[in-house]
C-alpha cells in the first residue's frame, strides 16, 4: 500500500463518520418537517385561498417536487449558504440565523469557559482532597444540580442578582462588537446559568478519573523516580484524567445548546432559539429546519474539535487502535483485570 493511498484512506476514515452522521441527522430532521404535514400555502394565504393560488405557492416553495429531490435541493442550497426563505416574513432564513447566531456563540463560549474553569477547578481540588469536606461539598452540589430543572438555576440567579441586589440586568442583550463591557453585563447571568450543568458534569468526571489516575501505577512510578507532586499531578495524572472529562464536555455540547434555548427565553436574548421558538408556533418549516441544521453542524464541528484535542493529549489512543488490531486480542497478560 503506497503512502498516498494510506493517507487518503486515513482521511476517508476520519471524514466518513461525521459526514454520514450529518447526512442521517439532516435527512431525519428534514423528513420530520415534511411528515409534519404543515401546509404553508393554506397557512400563509389564509382560508380563502383558491386551489390555483395554493398550487402556485407550493410550486414557488418547491413543495410539488418528489421528497428526495426536495431534500437534496435543500441540502445543496444549504451547503452554499442558502437556507431558503421564511414562509411568513419572506426574509432569507440564512440572514435571520446569521444575525441571531453570534448571540448564542458568544454566550456559549463564555458558558463553556465558566464550565471548564469552575468544573475543572472543583474537580481537581475534590480529587486531591478526596474524602475531605471540599470533596463532599462538590459532590453534594453536583448531585443537587442534577436534580434541579436547569432553568431554576437561572431563576435563582435572576431573583438574587437582578431582583434582590439589582446588580445585573435580568434580561436583554448588547452585541460584543458594539460594547464588550455592556455585553458582559448582559451575558454574565445567562452564561453562568448555562454553565451550571456542564460544570457539574465536568467536575464529577474529572474527580472520578483523576482519583482513578492517582491510583495508577505510573503515578507511583513517578513518585518512585522522585518527581515533584505538582509535576506528577499535572504532567502525569491530569493529562490522562483529562481525556474522559473532555469526552464528557463533548457530550455536554448538545445539552449546552438545549440550555441556550431556555436561557434565551428566560433572559430575553435575540438568539437562534428565539427564532426557532417563534417559527415553531407559526409552523414556519424552513426556519425550524435552518435552526436544526445549524445545531447539527455546530455539534459535529465541536465533536471534531474535541476529538482532535483528545488525540493530542493522549496520542497513544490513535497509535494504540492501529497496532492493537495486529496483535492477538486475548493474550493473557496477568495483572489486574
Amino acid at each position: 500500500m503506497s503512502p498516498i493511498v494510506g493517507s487518503l484512506r486515513a482521511i476517508v476514515r476520519l471524514v466518513s463518520v461525521p459526514v454520514t452522521v450529518f447526512l442521517i441527522a439532516t435527512f431525519a430532521t428534514y423528513a420530520l418537517g415534511a411528515a409534519g404535514g404543515a401546509n404553508p400555502a393554506a397557512t400563509v394565504l389564509g382560508q380563502d385561498a383558491t386551489p390555483g393560488q395554493i398550487a402556485q405557492l407550493n410550486h414557488q416553495f418547491g413543495l410539488d417536487k418528489p421528497f428526495l429531490v426536495q431534500y437534496f435541493d435543500w441540502l445543496g442550497h444549504a451547503l452554499t449558504g442558502n437556507l431558503g426563505v421564511s414562509y411568513f416574513t419572506s426574509i432569507p432564513v440564512a440572514t435571520s440565523i446569521s444575525q441571531a447566531f453570534p448571540v448564542d456563540l458568544s454566550l456559549a463560549i463564555l458558558a463553556l469557559a465558566f464550565a471548564v474553569v469552575l468544573g475543572g477547578g472543583a474537580g481537581i481540588l475534590a480529587a486531591l482532597r478526596q474524602g475531605g469536606w471540599f470533596d463532599r461539598a462538590v459532590s453534594a452540589v453536583c448531585s443537587g444540580l442534577a436534580t434541579v430543572p436547569p432553568f431554576l438555576v437561572g431563576i435563582t440567579l435572576i431573583v438574587v442578582f437582578a431582583v434582590f441586589f439589582r446588580l445585573l440586568p435580568s434580561g436583554g442583550y448588547v452585541p460584543f462588537t458594539q460594547n464588550p463591557g455592556q455585553w458582559l453585563r448582559f451575558a454574565l447571568l445567562p452564561s453562568l446559568a448555562l454553565s451550571a450543568e456542564g460544570a457539574a458534569a465536568i467536575a464529577r468526571q474529572l474527580r472520578t478519573s483523576l482519583v482513578g489516575a492517582l491510583q495508577e501505577n505510573y503515578v507511583l512510578g513517578a513518585a518512585a523516580r522522585g518527581l515533584s507532586v505538582r509535576r506528577t499531578l499535572f504532567r502525569h495524572a491530569l493529562r490522562n484524567a483529562a481525556g474522559p472529562a473532555l469526552t464528557v464536555l463533548g457530550v455536554q455540547i448538545p445539552l449546552l445548546i438545549g440550555g441556550a434555548v431556555v436561557a434565551e427565553k428566560m433572559f430575553a436574548l435575540p438568539g437562534v432559539a428565539q427564532l426557532a421558538l417563534q417559527a415553531g408556533t407559526e409552523r414556519d418549516v424552513p426556519v425550524i429546519q435552518g435552526a436544526l441544521l445549524v445545531t447539527i453542524a455546530v455539534v459535529l464541528v465541536s465533536n471534531i474539535v474535541v476529538n482532535a484535542v483528545l488525540l493530542r493529549i493522549t496520542p497513544q489512543a490513535a497509535r494504540g487502535t492501529r497496532s492493537a488490531r495486529r496483535r492477538p486480542m486475548l493474550q493473557a497478560t496477568g495483572g489486574a483485570a
Binding site: M1, R325, R326, R327, P328, M329, L330, Q331, A332, A337
Partner: protein, 260 residues
C-alpha cells in the same frame, strides 16, 4: 486413527496485510495421548488453542477432529458438533471463564443444558459425578466462583469440560494460575483421568517444567512456528533447535531445585 490433526494452520488477526501469528503449524494428537505445546508469551500458543476450537478463524490450513474437518463447519453443523461435547477447551483463568453469578454445579451442567441432554435430574446427576471425578466435595457445587479457592475453581473448570465425556481436552495453561502445591494436584488429576477414561489432551504451557514427566510428546512453538517436536524425554535430553536449547539452558536449575 488420529484424533486431532492440524495441518498447515496459518492465522492472522486483521486484514490481508497483517503479519501471521501462526505460520503453517501442523501437529497430531492420537487417542489417549498427552501432547504438550510449549511457547512463551506471544509465541501464538493461545491463538493455537482458540483456532482449533473455532474461536478464531484460520487464514489457511485445516483442523480435523476424528475425521471431520472442523474448519469447514458452519452455523448449524458447527453448533451440532459442539453440542456433542467430544472436544473441550479448558480455559486458562477460571475466574474469567466461570460466570461469577452461576454456581459451580450449574456451570458444570451448562454443556449438557446447551445440548439438551436427557431430563434435568439426569444432567444434575452427571454434573455431581463430574464434580466428584475432579475430587471436589459435592457441597461445593452450590457455591459461586467467588467463594471457591483458586485450586477449586480450576477443578470446576476441568469438571465442566469433562461432563460431556470428551475424547480430547485442550488445556490452555491449565496450572499457571495455581501455586506449586495445587499445580501438582491438577496435573496428577489429568494423568489419572487419562488412565481411567482414555481422554487425550493437548496441554499448552510456557513452563517446560510442568510438562516434563507429564506429556508423552512435546512440540515447541516459537514465533508462531513449531520449531521442534518429539517424545518429551527425547526433546528435553537432546534439543535440536537453538531456541529449545536456550530454553533448557535457562530452566535446568528449576529441575534440579524442585527435584521433580
Amino acid at each position: 486413527m488420529t484424533l486431532l490433526g492440524v495441518s498447515d494452520l496459518t492465522v492472522a488477526y486483521g486484514d490481508k496485510n497483517a503479519p501471521a501469528v501462526l505460520h503453517e503449524v501442523s501437529l497430531e494428537v492420537q487417542p489417549g495421548e498427552i501432547l504438550g505445546v510449549i511457547g512463551e508469551t506471544g509465541s501464538g500458543k493461545t491463538t493455537l488453542a482458540r483456532t482449533i476450537v473455532g474461536l478464531v478463524p484460520a487464514r489457511s490450513g485445516r483442523v480435523e477432529f476424528n475425521g471431520v474437518e472442523l474448519s469447514g463447519l458452519r452455523n448449524r453443523a458447527l453448533r451440532d458438533f459442539r453440542r456433542r461435547g467430544e472436544l473441550q477447551l479448558v480455559f486458562q483463568d477460571p475466574l474469567r471463564a466461570l460466570d461469577p453469578d452461576v454456581t459451580a454445579a450449574e456451570s458444570i451442567a451448562e454443556p449438557l443444558d446447551a445440548a439438551g441432554v436427557g431430563v434435568r435430574e439426569e444432567r444434575v446427576e452427571r454434573a455431581a459425578k463430574a464434580l466428584a471425578a475432579v475430587g471436589l466435595d459435592p457441597s461445593l457445587g452450590e457455591r459461586v466462583p467467588g467463594r471457591l479457592s483458586g485450586g477449586q475453581r480450576q477443578r470446576v473448570l476441568l469438571a465442566r469440560a469433562l461432563v460431556t465425556e470428551p475424547r480430547l481436552l485442550i488445556c490452555d495453561e491449565p496450572v499457571s494460575a495455581l501455586d506449586a502445591a495445587n499445580r501438582g494436584h491438577v496435573l496428577r488429576l489429568l494423568l489419572d483421568l487419562r488412565d481411567e477414561t482414555g481422554v487425550a489432551a493437548l496441554v499448552i504451557s510456557h513452563d517446560l517444567q510442568s510438562l516434563s514427566g507429564f506429556a508423552d510428546r512435546v512440540a515447541v512453538l516459537y514465533q508462531g512456528r513449531i520449531v521442534e517436536h518429539g517424545p518429551t524425554r527425547h526433546v528435553l535430553d537432546n534439543p535440536q533447535h537453538s531456541y529449545t536449547q536456550r530454553l533448557l539452558a535457562a530452566a535446568p536449575r528449576l529441575r534440579s531445585l524442585t527435584g521433580a
